[in-house]
């Protein structure tokens, strides 16, 4: 692995070296290291599609699995299917992420399709980061799809971050929750230049006392465009909360379309949405502390996305 690939790994997975625990590193479509542990088994798929199956035993408690993807070729496109099978009662941290460095003129594209089957009372924290860089004119495209099925009492917390660099992205997340299951999603997006980011969340609260809390914070700068679709269906007695909060700058455009569907009289669903530029008062306050207008803007955005 060269310096560039190491830098990408740092960005998406905070990895300086081979991680502890189970891991699978995918580098320009090739396996670049894999380790299974007694409780976490990683295998190549058997259905002929690219990707891996990850089996997490109920005995895994506080263990982690890293599955970063690195692309440094230009004009390279791949679709990868990763399926997670999390047994009842497991407690695991999954760190995924994709880093693309495209110096060429052509488009590089990664579409990761992640499916989570989370067993009863299992706990999963899923962190995914998307990062792209490059000095050519080639576009970096990432289209992550996440499919989540939470059994009774399961909990999944998903942190998904995309800060600059990615030219075009369509991020689709679907979830179905059984009784007492809980889903927490925190999304952070920063787009600039002519980037386009579309996020589409759809969560079905199918079981009694299922709960979802989804918060998307984004900053759209320069002439970038963002679209956010956010839907929660309450099909039983349940509680759902969603929030989208966007800072818009320059000539950017943001479209937010929240939807709540209550199909049961005991479904409690809340949505909050706000899109606006940075308040002049906020800039002024930080300027009275000695920051320039630009420094003030950077601090406000950094705080907002932290």
């Amino acid at each position: 692995m060269d310096e560039l690939e190491k830098m990408l790994l740092m960005q998406i997975a905070d990895l300086h070296k081979v991680p502890d625990g189970a891991y699978n590193i995918r580098n320009n479509g090739e396996a670049d290291g894999r380790r299974s542990t007694p409780h976490i088994r990683i295998e190549s798929r058997k259905d002929g599609k690219a990707g891996i199956d990850i089996f997490i035993s109920g005995k895994a408690q506080g263990e982690s699995v890293h599955i970063p993807v690195v692309i440094t070729k230009t004009d390279y496109r791949e679709t990868v299917y990763n399926d997670f099978y999390v047994e009842d009662g497991a407690d695991v941290l999954i760190i995924a992420g994709c880093g693309i460095h495209n110096c060429g003129q052509a488009t590089s594209e990664h579409s990761g399709i992640h499916t989570f089957h989370v067993g009863k009372n299992a706990k999963v924290k899923y962190v995914e980061k998307h990062y792209a860089s490059g000095d050519g004119n080639g576009e970096n495209v990432m289209n992550p799809t996440t499919d989540i099925r939470l059994e009774e009492g399961a909990r999944l917390e998903m942190e998904t971050t995309q800060i600059k660099g990615v030219d075009s992205t369509v991020r689709t997340t679907r979830a179905g929750l059984a009784a007492n299951a809980e889903l927490v999603i925190r999304e952070k997006i920063y787009t600039h230049g002519k980037q386009f980011a579309k996020t589409d969340f759809s969560v079905a609260l199918d079981g009694e006392n299922a709960g979802a809390d989804i918060v998307s914070r984004s900053v759209a700068a320069q002439s970038s465009q963002q679209e956010l679709y956010l839907r929660i269906d309450g099909n039983k007695k349940c509680h759902g909360h969603s929030e989208c909060d966007a800072i818009i700058m320059d000539d950017a455009k943001v479209l937010a379309i929240p939807a709540l569907a209550a199909n049961n009289v005991d479904a409690e669903l809340i949505h909050e949405a706000a899109i606006g530029k940075i308040a002049g008062e906020q800039l002024l306050k930080l300027m009275t502390l000695g920051l320039t207008e630009q420094e003030a803007e950077e601090q406000i955005i950094k705080g907002f996305l932290s």
Binding site: R217, D245, E281, K285, T288, L291, G303
Partner: protein
């Protein structure tokens, strides 16, 4: 020393709500200077003109002899002017510690941040990682605002109605914050206030009404007239 020479301010066309200033001249070199007067008399406008948030239509502002009239908010902050907002601003995502660090102009330790917060009567550990957002009450925000000015420790600190909203915290504490601040910076503290107890510690009181300075002098010279003449109706309470 801060010197305002013939400062006038009038809002642009159509903005009838903006206060005006009409030929205001005064100096601030004492320890505590209080500016008082009826609502809408121009006090807050004057504070904003000093901080650089509003540009005067006429007149000059000098800080230690340097003409700072044309300087920006940022440049004035670097010259040593601090300004506490009457209505503090909320920030989603910035923590109390972030804000105090930015005010101090450097990365500060948790214990340093805590010491500023303790001074304004906040149990620091509970606040240090809180976001400066809508979850904080008006009174809490107001004290954090004062803590940011404390952390700056500059030669001139301007407070626009610092007492408003800090109901649960005694005035005596607020006054001791000002006294400690002065002991540390040896600078001047300019306080816009209606409160008799704050006027009572002022070395100099300036009365503004209708955008003009109607009276200025020592506390002994100005305060008795204010209380007797009820120039400032808010003092009746």
């Amino acid at each position: 020393m801060l010197e305002l020479q013939h400062i006038s301010f009038s809002a642009g066309d159509g903005d009838a709500n903006k206060e005006i200033l009409d030929d205001v001249s005064l100096t601030v070199s004492e320890r505590f200077v209080a500016i008082t007067g009826p609502n809408g008399s121009g006090k807050s406008t004057l504070a904003k003109v000093i901080a650089g948030i509003l540009k005067p239509t006429e007149g000059k502002i000098l800080l230690d002899g340097e003409d700072i009239t044309a300087l920006s908010v940022t440049e004035r902050a670097h010259r040593g002017i601090s300004y506490a907002f009457q209505q503090p601003v909320r920030f989603k995502g910035l923590t109390v510690k972030d804000l105090v660090s930015l005010a101090a102009g450097r990365k500060i330790t948790v214990s340093e941040a805590c010491s500023y917060l303790s001074e304004v009567g906040l149990c620091a550990r509970d606040y240090i990682d809180r976001e400066v957002n809508a979850s904080l009450s008006g009174g809490e925000l107001k004290r954090i605002e004062i803590a940011t000015v404390l952390a700056r420790g500059t030669q001139l600190s301007v407070f626009d109605e610092p007492e408003a909203g800090i109901d649960l915290w005694s005035f005596q504490n607020l006054i001791s914050v000002f006294e400690k601040m002065h002991a540390r910076t040896n600078g001047s503290i300019l306080i816009i206030s209606h409160q008799e107890r704050i006027l009572n510690i002022a070395d100099k009181i300036v009365v503004i009404a209708g955008g003009k300075v109607t009276k200025q002098g020592t506390r002994e010279e100005v305060l008795p007239g204010l209380l007797a003449g009820r120039i400032c109706p808010a003092l009746e309470n």
